[in-house]
Homo-oligomer: 248 residues x 2
């Protein structure tokens, strides 16, 4: 009997070349490590599907993958069995049996990303693997004000890596929340029905320009309307980004 | 003219064999990296004094070191110059010129340590380098209640690594604060006028037993009175511990 299994996975992306296979064994990816672990515990090869790629250096606390299997291992054994063979920087948080038509990528309704900003006077050594050190003074109120222009359904063409090609650049963001300062860290959480390539990192890079006073909060709407990548801010570094959750 | 310089230093201790020199070049220590960096920017060897050792794997956000120098580099240049040559996991946060009789170790009046506990259902991949994963359910109220018995002046002989020899095992703790749960992390902060070898780690290991229900909050006072290391809980792992600040 084939089962469809959904795994919720967390990883520290620092030492990986992104989520997806590169076709090169000298470039470890999250996907290759997970497939190796599944093969080890089930004694047969499996191909997994992720909710989407994450770039090299990007982390996840709630990435979702799915795969079909005829292995007899009980679903509740997947978490301890996989974690016992995975490296320490990849952790399976949950395993569930799901309907046969569930697909981690095509069934996804909503994704939430979190970007960690280190706003201390010097880089924090403990959070430096997952927080981007934003040197200089940031006006968090202005940054949060600029963020609000992005909520709702918009054409995010200005916030897509140049050279990408997709059918439509219209996406809906349900929230762009700037958290309060805790222990030198500020988080920006972005929840939406879909994301263009590098979209969250370009949003954060643009909001940082607002926080630094190089752009005004009202400029964010102007940038949206321009539908031109050249108008938005730089792409914020990968290592500050984390895929927080995927909703189905 | 000789100056006495005080540096406030942060480090991720994961990849170091503790703060203090080991007399072996194949075992990098925080002290050896700092002395190398100071030698590089001043072009002469210097010996630094730390406020105290930290064990292998222990971190710091506010370790203090001092050294005398006849180098002409202005005090305010030490921070950028040292950080430009130090590895990324050691950061100098502040440099000040201090009185000639200041000594990082002997002038210290108070130290504060923070212990990070990861109380999630599975280990958090992002905080795993500096938070100890405490598996199983923890009763944080009981843990905090047990912690209060430790505040004040006590003989902490039960909370000292066996085999240590010091003149007196009496120390004063000003506070032992159990923080509230934030994003799966709980912190225990311990502030005192001095600490015995492994004292904070044994305190945390004992409080974890209280949180897990293997000891009652009232047992902490009984353990103090016993003056016997064998009565306290196990030594919590080094990587959860961080030297937060030293007061003078």
């Amino acid at each position: 009997m084939e089962r469809n299994v959904k795994l919720t996975v967390a990883y520290d992306g620092t030492d990986y070349h992104g989520f997806q296979h590169q076709g090169r064994s000298d470039r470890p990816t999250i996907q290759s490590k997970l497939e190796e672990a599944i093969a080890t515990i089930t004694k047969s090869p499996h191909r997994i599907h992720g909710s989407g790629r994450t770039d090299a250096g990007v982390h996840a606390l709630g990435q979702v993958v799915s795969f079909t299997t005829s292995a007899t291992i009980p679903t509740e054994r997947f978490v301890p069995a996989l974690n016992s063979v995975l490296p320490q920087d990849i952790v399976v948080c949950q395993a569930e049996e799901v309907a046969v038509d569930f697909h981690a990528r095509f069934s996804a309704k909503k994704k939430t990303y979190r970007y960690y900003l280190d706003v201390g006077p010097v880089p924090n050594v403990l959070t430096r693997r997952y927080a981007h050190f934003a040197s200089g003074v940031l006006d968090l109120e202005k940054l949060a004000l600029g963020a609000q222009s992005l909520v709702g359904e918009h054409d995010f063409a200005s916030f897509q890596a140049s050279g990408s090609s997709v059918k439509t650049t219209v996406r809906r963001l349900y929230r762009v929340d700037v958290g309060s300062l805790v222990d030198g860290l500020v988080t920006i959480e972005v929840e939406g029905n879909g994301f263009l390539y590098n979209m969250v990192r370009i949003i954060v890079g643009t909001l940082l320009q607002v926080g630094k006073g190089r752009l005004q909060p009202a400029d964010v709407e102007r940038i949206l309307l321009a539908k031109d990548r050249g108008c938005a801010g730089p792409t914020a570094p990968a290592h500050g980004l984390c895929l927080l959750r995927v909703d189905y």
